[in-house]
């Protein structure tokens, strides 16, 4: 059975106050260098809502602009103003911080997220008016509590403060007094992930035209862990998200693999559908507070705005063949194995050419590659370079070594076979998957044929292995109706007759 991609959802939440209070670059700095010049200057570099709306990479992420249009815009992109500044796009939306805080409270099932009364009153109408927020979610919003009580919780009960424009408007309480895995810090991080995942999942279902009750399985592939002190990564974000989204017929599970998580999850999900286990599977992931302002020191030093101020989320809906939607080719699957090693050449071979070779294909048989789609506005000033571009150069260098392109073609390879990076540096969020929405559209329009999604993950950061990781797969046009599977009754009869004749012949031969 074939698996098709019915649709995808992409969302961003603008969370400037969380950059200051929850990004690990800032929380670390506050511990080791509380009076630093960086912490003093950082607030002046935060972007306002209108600026993030008119930011080119954000408009590409939610689908109002295409990667091709972005490629024509001179970098750095923070110096350009996009001519579209809508908050809703073809794939999803950008959500302002105040609505996102209400969403965090709405997805909380353990009475941990507290918001101040007047803050709720001021923003509830806007939250309810959000295109993706239905009445069941609005009904989950509580009236809120007094500001003094929030201050007390933060000061006396270790609650994680929630700020809006530098004003304390709420908090996330710890879920246990002793258990560090249920601390307010962890609960805050997980609640942000869950809220952004819910929004992405709802957007994806709408775009796919799939009813909530038709989803049978959800796979979450973020990089957080939920559990308690007896089972730190017990899970399960997928089911928790499905519950809030109203997917009554779904269960699910979490797949992890650092930034390679989404590629693994999509291969798993596509295989579940292809095997006939489930007819409709959604892969979803929310974003990550820890990475907000991750490279902020370099951005501030270079006098630029903080581009790492958006929480990201994405979801992809996979179903059994509908005869129209682009399909996942489960034959062309690349994987970095234990034996692959860490040499960049070996890594890219394992993810790109090994899978192509098995299928008799060349690098140039793929129309577009989507490796790690990090926005270069975030990475270049931090000395990490243009990550997608570096990946294209690696694939091009490999193509030269294989004699598939000339050395002179390396320079133009990225333009021809690649896309610019537009995703926020939210770990798993940029990892190939931001291109799926665009690929699905372009394949349906007949402008692209084979597109490869490549996820790479830094497993070594978990200190359990020094290994790297990665996985890849190909999306291609729907190949039309499949030949009926299995063998007809007539054929079975013929096969039995043939076997009987052969058996009889062998008996006769034995007698002779």
């Amino acid at each position: 059975m074939k698996t098709v991609i019915k649709g995808a959802g992409y969302i961003l939440a603008h969370t400037p106050d969380m950059v200051l209070h929850n990004g690990t670059t800032q929380t670390t700095e506050r511990i080791v260098n509380p009076d630093s010049e960086y912490l003093k200057q950082l607030p002046n570099h935060l972007r306002d809502w209108n600026t993030v709306l008119a930011y080119w990479p954000n408009q590409v992420y939610i689908g109002n602009k295409t990667p091709d249009e972005l490629a024509a815009i001179p970098q750095p992109w923070f110096e350009q103003t996009c001519d579209v500044n809508a908050r809703y796009g073809k794939y999803g939306q950008m959500m302002p911080q105040e609505e996102f805080l209400l969403l965090m409270q709405a997805v909380d099932v353990f009475d941990l997220v507290k918001l101040e009364k007047s803050f709720v009153a001021e923003h509830k109408a806007a939250f309810a008016a959000n295109e993706m927020i239905d009445e069941t979610i609005v009904a989950r919003v509580k009236d809120g509590i007094e500001g003094e009580e929030i201050a007390r919780l933060v000061n006396e009960e270790h609650s994680e403060p929630l700020y809006h424009h530098n004003v304390l408007v709420g908090c996330v309480n710890r879920a246990h007094d002793i258990d560090v895995n249920l601390s307010s810090h962890v609960m805050h991080e997980n609640m942000v992930s869950k809220a952004s995942s819910v929004l992405a999942l709802l957007s994806a279902l709408k775009n796919a035209g799939v009813a909530k009750e038709d989803v049978e399985y959800v796979v979450d592939c973020c990089e957080e862990a939920c559990g308690d002190m007896n089972q730190r990564g017990g899970g399960n974000f997928a089911k928790a998200t499905a519950e809030i989204a109203g997917l009554v017929n779904a269960t699910g599970s979490d797949v992890r693999g650092f930034c390679a998580g989404p590629a693994h999850a999509l291969i798993d999900a596509a295989s579940l559908v292809a095997a006939g286990t489930f007819k409709c599977v959604v892969v979803t992931a929310g974003g990550c507070t820890a990475k907000l302002g991750m490279n902020g020191k370099d951005h501030v030093k270079k006098g630029m705005p903080i581009p790492e101020d958006m929480i990201g989320g994405f979801a992809v809906v996979l179903t059994a063949d509908d005869g129209v939607s682009p399909e996942v080719n489960l034959q062309i699957v690349g994987r970095h194995t234990v034996g692959t090693g860490s040499a960049p050449q070996a890594v890219i071979q394992s993810l790109v050419t090994e899978a192509l070779d098995r299928n008799g294909l060349k690098i140039t048989d793929i129309d577009k590659f989507a490796p790690e789609m990090q926005n270069p506005d975030c990475t270049k000033p931090a000395g990490a370079g243009d990550v997608p571009l570096a990946n294209y150069k690696m694939i091009a260098a490999l193509a030269v070594k294989r004699g598939e392109i000339g050395r002179a073609d390396i320079a133009s390879f990225a333009e021809k076979y690649g896309l610019p990076g537009w995703a926020p540096t939210q770990g798993h969020i940029p990892s190939g998957v931001p291109s799926i929405g665009y690929f699905v559209d372009e394949i349906k329009a007949g402008r692209l044929n084979k597109c490869m999604i490549i996820g790479k993950g830094s497993l070594f950061l978990g200190r359990m292995t020094n290994l790297f990781d990665g996985a890849s797969f190909v999306i291609q046009p729907n190949s039309g109706p499949e030949a009926p599977a299995g063998v007809s009754e007539d054929e079975v009869k013929k096969m039995i007759a043939k076997a009987m004749r052969e058996f009889a012949a062998s008996l006769l031969a034995a007698e002779e």
């Binding site: 490279n295 090693g341 960049p344 990490a384 990550v387 830094s458 070594f460 950061l461």
Partner: protein, 43 residues
């Protein structure tokens, strides 16, 4: 005089450049002893 032969080598690799284990192979082939190897990640 050789830079690496007989020395204790500390490796700070980069996920988007040359990762630690790849540098390890190079250092060992030059006769160095690797005492620490790590890989950094900016994304």
């Amino acid at each position: 005089m050789a830079i690496l032969a007989g020395k204790k080598v500390i490796i700070i690799g980069d996920r988007d450049g040359i990762p630690g284990p790849a540098i390890e192979e190079c250092a060992k082939s030059a006769g160095a002893e690797v005492v620490f190897s790590s890989t950094e990640c900016f994304v």
